[in-house]
């Protein structure tokens, strides 16, 4: 392998590389799903894997998501480490019984005797002009299911590092890939990509003092942009990237909010019953006397995901974030 120095790579490339490296290092890692073979997946994340590892390690399955996940459960029961691709967010729903009733519970059911180290990759979220059922932010369902880890990268580096960590985890991980960041680019050392030691640590992506934006995945770039724009209004916003919704790194978030005294949670998923509710509730519980204003949320509306021509109105954008920051009772 030729040494590739730090140069721009896309999140899609980093994800593909993570799969490749995991498969190369550990023969029990198997990639499976619809179109992951010759096609390399509809987003080309698995491109090249079947050539390098053969059809037995990178398998085009029949078109049946419950069957895919159910078969992966059996494979994991036998000691393999399946990495399952769900083609789009909404097409993971047929596998929910397997996910909730088995994947999330097998370890607990067997008092630890039968862990299921399965990684379920789910491209999620909107902003790509996808027609119905191709842009859901379905994280609320996963977050509400004990026994699952829920991980989502927002940067090229994390795409690699968190996916490696997820595959290495002995627990089932729902790995949510922000579709619209697949083609986002960043400088990245492909010669020595860094794994993340474990999942569950949030990162302060931008330090600030006025208020904290708490976010993850596809909304991180939007929040960073909002933070830049906020400078004009005289606000110095801190931005925390959760990186995993479960485990939820309360300590990092709470330290930030206690510092700034104000917080806004930003995500694409519907607001009502969405992950932001948990974050807001918990942050409030632990920062009550530090808060100058209630924790607010900027989220997708409480509607089914809109058609492409209307999605811009639905997605949390810079303006809506700034409008919300403005509502943080600055006059107090």
């Amino acid at each position: 392998m030729t040494t590739v120095a730090v140069k721009p790579a896309t999140m899609a490339q980093a994800l593909g590389r993570a799969l490749r490296d995991a498969m190369a290092e550990d023969p029990t890692v198997h990639v499976m799903g619809e179109d992951v073979g010759a096609l390399g997946g509809v987003f080309r994340i698995t491109d090249g894997l079947v050539k390098e590892f053969g059809e037995e390690r990178c398998t085009d399955t029949p078109l049946a998501e419950a069957g895919i996940l159910g078969a992966a459960v059996g494979m994991a029961m036998y000691g393999l480490r399946p990495v399952v691709e769900m083609q789009f967010d909404a097409f993971a729903y047929p596998a929910f019984e397997q996910l909730i009733s088995h994947v999330s519970r097998m370890r607990n059911r067997t008092r630890g005797a039968m862990p299921l180290p399965i990684t379920i990759r789910v491209p999620y979220g909107g902003g790509i002009g996808g027609v119905e059922h191709h842009s859901d932010s379905s994280e609320a369902y996963y977050v509400a299911t004990p026994g699952l880890h829920v991980v989502t990268p927002a940067t090229v580096e994390d795409a690699y590092g968190l996916l490696r960590a997820s595959i290495a985890s002995d627990d089932p991980v729902v790995f949510l890939e922000p579709k619209r960041l697949y083609w986002s680019k960043a400088e990245w050392n492909a010669a020595a990509p860094a794994a993340v030691p474990g999942i569950g640590k949030a990162l302060v992506r931008r330090a600030g003092t006025s208020a904290t934006l708490i976010t993850y995945g596809p909304s991180l770039p939007v929040c960073l942009e909002a933070a830049e724009a906020a400078r004009e209004e005289g606000w110095d916003l801190e931005v925390v990237d959760l990186r995993s919704l479960v485990p939820f790194d309360e300590e990092t978030v709470i330290a930030s909010v206690r510092r700034t005294g104000r917080a806004v949670v930003v995500h694409e998923a519907n607001g009502f019953g969405g992950p932001g509710a948990e974050i807001a509730a918990r942050v409030t519980e632990r920062c009550f006397h530090h808060l100058e204003a209630p924790v607010l949320r900027v989220t997708g509306f409480d509607i089914p995901y809109p058609p492409p021509m209307l999605e811009k109105h639905h997605l949390p954008g810079v303006d809506r974030i700034l409008d919300t920051v403005a509502r943080l009772q600055w006059e107090n």
Binding site: E34, D35, G37, A38, L39, G40, V42, D60, T61, P62, L63, A64, E65, A66, G67, A90, F91, Y93, P94, G129, G130, V131, E132, H133, H134, F272, F301, D302, I303, P304, P306, P307, P308, M309, L310, H313, H314, D319, R320, D323
Partner: protein, 378 residues
């Protein structure tokens, strides 16, 4: 009790079925045709109905043109995505023409052509794929269910609707379309089972076009044919050449008739081929050989019919020209109408989630309204 006391020990035990066992039907249902059923190019073509065939021909030509136009619109950014049915027009057209006015069509995401051949305005059929609202028509007005993107999920809907219609005493048949890949989904299984148990007036049309995106049939099933799946539900299964519009129409018409007259559901597998890529966004060279595509082009549904009809004198040069012209007119109108930007009202986002807006939705609608007003002022 010892074994000596048991009545009729040993040899006297009769090898008959256990008490309440009986096969559910006297015999296995008809096994599907060993070869795909054909009409065109066979002696059976003698009995073709010229009127119907001319209609089929006109629709095939129109369908081919529709496909070309829709694909062109993707290149012009006028459609977000288009799953073409080039090569599959015979199935699409036959499915549409075989239904009576009061019947229902349940298309998959690929089957806009079937909807158009049924009489739906092409612009309405393409509304979803344009990036406009999810459904461009009133399903009840046209008796065409919304295009179903989640594969096979429309099949239980078709069963439920057909069942409901029968319960109400209405003469309604539902025809549901699904791909070869879709037959692997649990919903396919559950729908066919419900249909058979309820003897619902449904026809299931599987277009086996050889691929589910990149996945070839051999990785999808080990069954002799997909039509063989009918056996396990106790319904008839039929296998038909999906590029032979006369054969598809005939097989579907029989199935529709069976359903209409209380004979229950039928599974039809039509062997066809997707000439274009999965959608405009797909790269089919990654998973199949040009040779295969070329061979199938020799078995083109439009040409097969044109050849037969001209050979039989059912169609002449003028008829061909007329069909082409009508197709061009449709295409030109479609092109023109699709070139105008549709006007969507963002407030529609909140209008139809519930029959009555919840407080939370009213609040969100007000927020968007304010943002839009502010934008308009700026």
């Amino acid at each position: 009790m010892t074994v000596q006391e048991l009545p009729g020990a040993g040899a006297s035990y009769r090898p008959t079925p256990p008490p309440s066992w009986r096969p559910r039907t006297q015999a296995a249902p008809l096994l599907p045709d060993p070869e795909p059923h054909r009409v065109l190019g066979t002696p059976a073509a003698e009995k073709l109905d010229p009127e119907l065939m001319r209609r089929c021909y006109a629709e095939l030509v129109r369908g081919r043109r529709y496909n070309a136009q829709a694909t062109a619109l993707t290149r012009q950014g006028r459609l977000a995505v288009y799953p073409s049915t080039v090569g599959q027009e015979a199935c699409e057209v036959a499915a549409a023409l075989v239904l009576a006015e009061q019947d229902w069509l349940f298309p998959s995401y690929r089957d806009t052509l079937a909807a158009v051949a049924r009489g739906l305005d092409p612009v309405q059929a393409l509304t979803l794929l344009r990036g406009d609202w999810h459904t461009g028509y009133d399903p009840r007005e046209h008796r065409i269910a919304p295009l179903s993107t989640p594969l096979a999920t429309q099949l239980p809907h078709a069963v439920g609707l057909a069942h409901a219609a029968r319960l109400r005493g209405d003469d309604v048949v539902a025809l549901a379309m699904v791909g070869d890949g879709g037959t692997s989904e649990g919903d396919f299984h559950e729908a066919l089972n419900f249909a058979a148990v309820w003897q619902a007036p449904v026809v299931f049309l599987v277009q086996n076009n050889g691929f589910a995106i990149s996945v070839p049939l051999a990785k999808q099933t080990a069954a002799p044919t997909l039509a063989h799946k009918a056996v396990g539900y106790g319904m008839p299964g039929r296998l038909v050449d999906g590029n032979d519009v006369a054969a598809v129409h005939e097989v579907l018409a029989e199935a529709v008739q069976r359903a209409r007259t209380g004979g229950g559901p039928t599974l039809v597998e039509a062997i066809t081929y997707r000439i274009d890529a999965h959608t405009n966004a797909d790269d089919a060279t990654r998973y199949r050989e040009d040779d295969e595509v070329a061979a199938w082009k020799e078995h083109d549904p439009v040409e097969l019919l044109e050849r037969e009809l001209t050979a039989r004198g059912i169609l002449d040069e003028a008829g061909i020209e007329a069909a082409k012209e009508s197709a061009e007119t449709m295409a030109a109108a479609l092109r023109e109408r699709m070139n105008a930007d549709p006007v969507l009202d963002p407030m529609d986002l909140f209008a139809h989630v519930y029959s009555e807006q919840t407080g939370r939705l009213r609040e969100q609608a007000a927020m968007l309204r304010a943002e839009l007003d502010a934008e308009a002022e700026a």
